[in-house]
């Protein structure tokens, strides 16, 4: 091994690195906790923990201020594994420490797997309807769906993180390029009648631009805050621009409310439909979808109160779970503390609007859910073994010492 390789190895196996990383981890937790005044919990997770570098917005310019959770955790993982392989000897005496270290490694790997693979989505169904996909709570995508075939739809989904970068997007499945014109991560829409002189944004297709004035809003990071994005999309083919569409996942509508008075409500926007090259497409800005190999149909929602009060007693959803191959076709009752577990997913009763016959299920899938438990067991065993071995060694030493001393007469 040459000198430079040796110095790299020494850096990664160094105990000083462990101490520095642990100290940085503590500082990270401290400042991220303070930052919760400005951001909600998911904003904190994304900014401080699920990032390589913490980037702070200082009034318009974004400045890297601290190593992120992935960098600190990743280096700690490498450091631990390296130390394990290079410094610690595989001897019975050190088995406790080895187990504790391995437990920490499993814990770190578990968080990494959770951060990357965990799905925490929702499934909103109205009575009688069936769903075979869940939707993100807060991430959006521009979906271009080729609906020409009567049997199936071909979907090209562009995540908002890709779309908001602004570069042209080309994909083999669509015969045109997608050119983002602008993307507002959060925005408001007011009926044009309320703001008659507001300029249009230049959409050539669809009715949204004619009906609404959209304005960019600051991103809401609060726990229950909702961000409604708006995008202006141009589709460009070899012969020129096909058109520009204003997309928004939902729009305000007025509906007859109590006593017939108009009441503000929110509806999902229908996809924009167009034909190009003999194929029919539908384009929409929607919550990111994750399709499932099974479907869930909502049969009935029940919202019981304690008799004579408005106190909720029970929320439940009776659903029909069905797979296309007919292997599963059964009814399940989902209620508080009794989720449906199927195919690696857990469906919790999350929201309910019984008056509208609407249920919201939280859909969670975490392939790494078992790892923190395994890590805790490993670390506990390691501690017991380490202290147990020390205790036995201490006792043995004391007995030996006692045996060596001359007994009092």
């Amino acid at each position: 091994m040459n000198d430079s390789l040796r110095s790299v190895r020494d850096f990664f196996v160094s105990l000083k690195l462990t101490v520095v990383l642990l100290a940085l981890g503590m500082v990270l937790v401290f400042f991220s906790t303070l930052d919760q005044v400005h951001l909600g919990i998911w904003g904190i997770q994304e900014k401080w923990f699920r990032s390589f570098v913490v980037v702070h917005d200082t009034g318009g310019s974004r400045v890297p201020v601290f190593p992120g959770g992935y960098l600190i955790g990743g280096l700690l993982l490498v450091n631990l594994i390296s130390a394990h392989l290079y410094r610690l000897k595989l001897v019975w005496r050190k088995a406790g420490i080895q187990l504790i270290h391995s437990g920490v490694i499993v814990l770190l790997v578990g968080e990494l797997i959770t951060g990357i693979l965990q799905e925490d989505f929702q499934m909103t169904i109205v009575e009688g309807a069936s769903r075979n996909y869940s939707e993100s709570f807060r991430d959006y995508e521009v979906a271009i769906v080729d609906v020409s075939n009567p049997a199936y739809d071909d979907v090209v989904a562009i995540p908002d993180a890709v779309f908001s970068h602004g570069g042209e997007i080309q994909h083999a499945k669509i015969p045109f390029r997608v050119v983002p014109q602008f993307y507002f991560p959060n925005s408001s829409a007011r009926p044009r009648a309320q703001v008659p002189n507001a300029p249009r944004v230049g959409a050539t297709h669809g009715e949204l631009d004619a009906r609404f004035v959209v304005t960019e809003q600051a991103i809401d990071y609060s726990q229950n805050g909702r961000n409604i994005p708006t995008a202006l999309v141009a589709l460009v083919a070899t012969e020129g621009t096909i058109g520009k569409w204003l997309l928004r996942p939902e729009i305000p509508v007025m509906r007859p409310g109590e006593g017939g008075a108009p009441q503000l409500d929110i509806d999902r926007t229908a996809p924009e439909r167009f034909t190009y090259g003999g194929r029919t497409f539908e384009m929409s800005l929607r919550l990111v979808r994750a399709y499932k190999p099974f479907s869930i149909r909502l049969l009935k929602v029940t919202h019981d109160n304690y008799v004579g009060t408005d106190l909720p007693k029970n929320f439940s959803s009776r659903v029909e779970l069905k797979t296309p191959d007919g292997r599963d076709d059964r009814e399940v009752l989902i209620y508080m503390n009794n989720p449906l577990r199927y195919g690696g997913y857990t469906f919790y009763q999350h929201q309910m609007e019984a008056a509208r016959g609407l249920t919201g299920l939280q859909v969670v899938r975490n392939p790494g859910w078992l790892l923190p438990y395994i890590a805790c067991v490993m670390m506990t065993l390691g501690l017991v073994l380490q202290f147990g071995l020390s205790l036995f060694a201490f006792n043995a030493k004391r007995r030996a010492k006692a045996a060596a001393q001359p007994k009092a007469a």
């Binding site: 909103t124 009648a193 509806d267 029919t280 929201q351 008056a355």
Partner: protein, 205 residues
């Protein structure tokens, strides 16, 4: 040796796993979705204090606008009603040779820019340039049906697309009846579209 080979691999694995989260454009194929009942509320929408009106078939049903005025109509039997979504008052698929047509019925407050602006918008949608005010009279027909004044425009694109459109001012709003589809289908549906306009009338209040 094993140890020396393992460490770089582990570091590479960690970095690779970290890079896995990068969002990417995805493509996949799914079975056709059964449209949800009309007026499906948005996810996480604030709860209404009262139940939403029940979903009913659009054909022949008075549809209230924001201002309260309503129109009713009867769609031809061969038009297939579909989920109107949040913005449309009515929505149909019109089957034909060379592709399907999309029939939309929408209503907006005010005059939405007037006949010329809207017809030029439709022309832009199928790749035609705008026309001047003077040309408007020669490209539109005016019909008076059931107490409504209807402006009918047949817009045939340079390419394969065409639009049959009708603009109907009613109350404080303007209603738009628009059939978009392949030019052959638009030509074929012209008689049915005009007959459909004969059925449009103010809804019972």
């Amino acid at each position: 040796m094993l140890v020396r080979r393992t460490l770089p691999a582990l570091i590479a694995l960690t970095v690779a796993l970290g890079g896995c989260k990068k969002p990417e454009v995805q493509s996949y194929r799914v079975a056709k979705e059964t449209p949800p009942p009309a007026g499906t509320p948005a996810v996480n929408a604030p709860a209404a204090n009262t139940p939403a009106p029940a979903a009913t078939p659009m054909s022949g049903t008075p549809v209230p606008t924001a201002s309260g005025a309503a129109l009713a109509w009867t769609a031809p039997a061969h038009w297939t009603a579909k989920d109107p979504g949040g913005m449309r008052k009515g929505s149909y698929t019109v089957k034909g040779t060379g592709g399907d047509g999309d029939m939309s019925i929408m209503a907006f407050p005010g005059d939405v820019g007037g006949d010329l602006a809207n017809i030029n918008r439709w022309r832009g949608q199928i790749g035609l340039g705008p026309i001047a005010e003077a040309e408007l009279a020669s490209t539109t027909q005016h019909l008076d049906r059931n107490g409504l004044h209807i402006t009918l425009a047949v817009v045939n694109g340079a390419g394969a697309q065409g639009i049959l459109g009708a603009i109907v001012p009613h109350g404080d709003a303007t209603w738009f009846f628009k059939l978009t589809g392949p030019a052959a289908l638009v030509a074929q549906e012209q008689a049915a579209f005009t007959a459909f306009l004969d059925t449009v009338k103010p809804g019972a209040q």
